[in-house]
């Protein structure tokens, strides 16, 4: 759905109810919407990677007096960033999981053992267990250009040292989870 962020009149209600903004002072949804509206986007922009911190909880949107589809706006800003080659490393790994296994969180040894203990089949009846189905998924990911999207070399992600936000998130080991 196309967003309607042009309706935003910058009251700041969204930022004041945002639970991510409460935890991370640098995450200011009102400011991101304004930057997007004014077209302030460049390499130094603080928007990427922080725009990826939104949990899409919709609390801002539920409280916006102007009826702005804020989360659609966030998704749009993110999609633009990703198409400019600015996908976060951790997200790239999740994307690769989808290509390799058809799942963002594929099965593993511990998962298989638990399944057997519960009397379930070792592998669920999902795409991961079948080459034919995996082929279908890879074909679709090729037709939509997703394989090329994640193959692009990423420019270095510059995280401004002066910001209060922790960098820890970018140095994590392989992220096996997403949502």
């Amino acid at each position: 759905m196309p967003s309607n962020i042009e309706k935003c009149y910058q009251c700041g209600q969204c930022t004041s109810v945002c639970p991510m903004g409460e935890q991370e002072q640098t995450y200011k949804i009102r400011k991101f919407l304004q930057m997007e509206k004014l077209g302030i986007e460049n390499e130094e922009s603080i928007m990427t990677p922080f725009i990826f911190y939104c949990t899409t909880c919709y609390r801002c949107q539920d409280n916006c007096p102007q009826g702005v589809n804020i989360v659609d706006g966030v998704l749009e800003i993110r999609a633009n960033a990703v198409h400019e080659g600015k996908m976060l490393d951790a997200h790239k790994k999740v994307a690769q999981m989808l290509m390799d296994y058809g799942h963002a969180v594929p099965n593993n040894t511990a998962g298989r053992e638990k399944r057997l203990q519960l009397g379930l089949a070792e592998m669920p009846s999902t795409a991961q267990g079948s080459d034919d189905h995996l082929d279908e998924i890879r074909t679709l990911l090729h037709l939509t250009g997703f394989d090329r999207l994640i193959a692009d070399e990423m420019p270095d992600m510059k995280v401004n040292e002066g910001l209060t936000l922790t960098k820890a998130g970018f140095d994590q080991p392989i992220a096996e989870e997403s949502a």
Binding site: P19, A104, G145
Partner: protein
């Protein structure tokens, strides 16, 4: 004949298979047949894939729905993220013939077609609306004397709002009522509708910040002195269960609140053992809870 196919998603079958087992057991007790959805993929996850590329998100989602349409079934999801993706993608395509055509051009290459003649359901709203509290009460053989912190999760509420459902009009209570039907008490707690912290790809991008949100939520639940958290989503489940240990070690806390998916709570109340429902397989100990139920 079955009218529902079970969409497993990723986290339930691969990390918390107890949720899959509990769903199958409770539905069999309710005499509702669930078809397997052979070859289903990631829904794909709304927070990450929807933000990367809308067309990819719609295309993979429509393949999953098309698999279910072939069985002449509605899709049953046991995860808020899967519900949000499949429900919203399906409804978007139903409303937009041009987009549907674009997506089908790709699906036809692999022998599928999205028709748009079936619906997507979430297990919680399905049990509430199609089975009903009274019938569920009749199936309870072991009423549970537990104090429960219900966690709805943002992406259970959102698709229902988009759909104009009465369930989310005004005071929201459908999930609490289902929990109470098991004999348990749904306890009110501060900021109950707050997000678990994990969604939108944030857990992957910035684990530490998402855990701070989780900590806030755990703090409020602990204040209400609950016996367990009951959720409707394996991803919230993961954040509360595995994330609880991360919260404890990173922020020097000492939380120990057991975490159950609703299907597991219902399974206990229907007389299944904790072992059959995989309740002991969590990261955060469920031993005290299991003991309390046995006593």
């Amino acid at each position: 004949m079955s009218e529902l196919s079970l969409f497993l998603g990723c986290v339930a079958p691969n990390r918390y298979p107890g949720i899959e087992a509990a769903t199958k057991k409770t539905f069999s007790k309710l005499a509702i047949e669930l078809d397997d959805l052979l070859g289903a993929s990631c829904c794909p996850a709304p927070g990450v894939f929807r933000s990367f590329d809308e067309e990819t998100w719609l295309t993979l989602a429509s393949r999953n729905i098309a698999l279910s349409e072939k069985l002449d079934d509605d899709v049953l999801t046991i995860c808020n993220g899967c519900y949000s993706t499949l429900k919203e993608a399906g409804d978007t395509l139903k409303k937009d013939p041009k987009l549907k055509e674009t997506v089908n051009r790709n699906l036809i290459e692999i022998g599928h077609e999205f028709k748009g003649n079936h619906d997507v359901r979430h297990v919680i709203e399905y049990l509430y609306q199609d089975i009903g509290i009274e019938r569920i009460k009749e199936m309870i053989s072991k009423p549970l004397d537990l104090k429960v912190a219900v966690h709805y999760g943002c992406h259970l509420i959102r698709p229902l709002k988009e759909d104009g459902s009465e369930l989310v009009n005004g005071n929201i209570s459908f999930f609490d009522e289902l929990v109470q039907a098991t004999g348990a008490t749904s306890v009110d707690y501060e900021d109950k509708m707050l997000c678990c912290g994990a969604g939108g790809g944030a857990r992957t991008a910035i684990l530490e910040a998402t855990l701070k949100m989780t900590e806030k939520k755990l703090h409020n639940m602990a204040d209400a002195q609950v016996d367990c958290i009951v959720n409707a989503c394996p991803f919230c489940h993961l954040q509360f269960d595995s994330g609880q240990q991360d919260v404890n070690s990173r922020f020097r806390k000492n939380y120990s609140i057991p975490v159950l998916h609703y299907t597991q709570l219902l399974g206990l109340a229907m007389g299944y053992s904790a072992d059959e429902l995989g309740i002991g397989m969590n990261t955060t100990s469920t031993a005290d809870l299991i003991k309390k139920i046995k006593d």
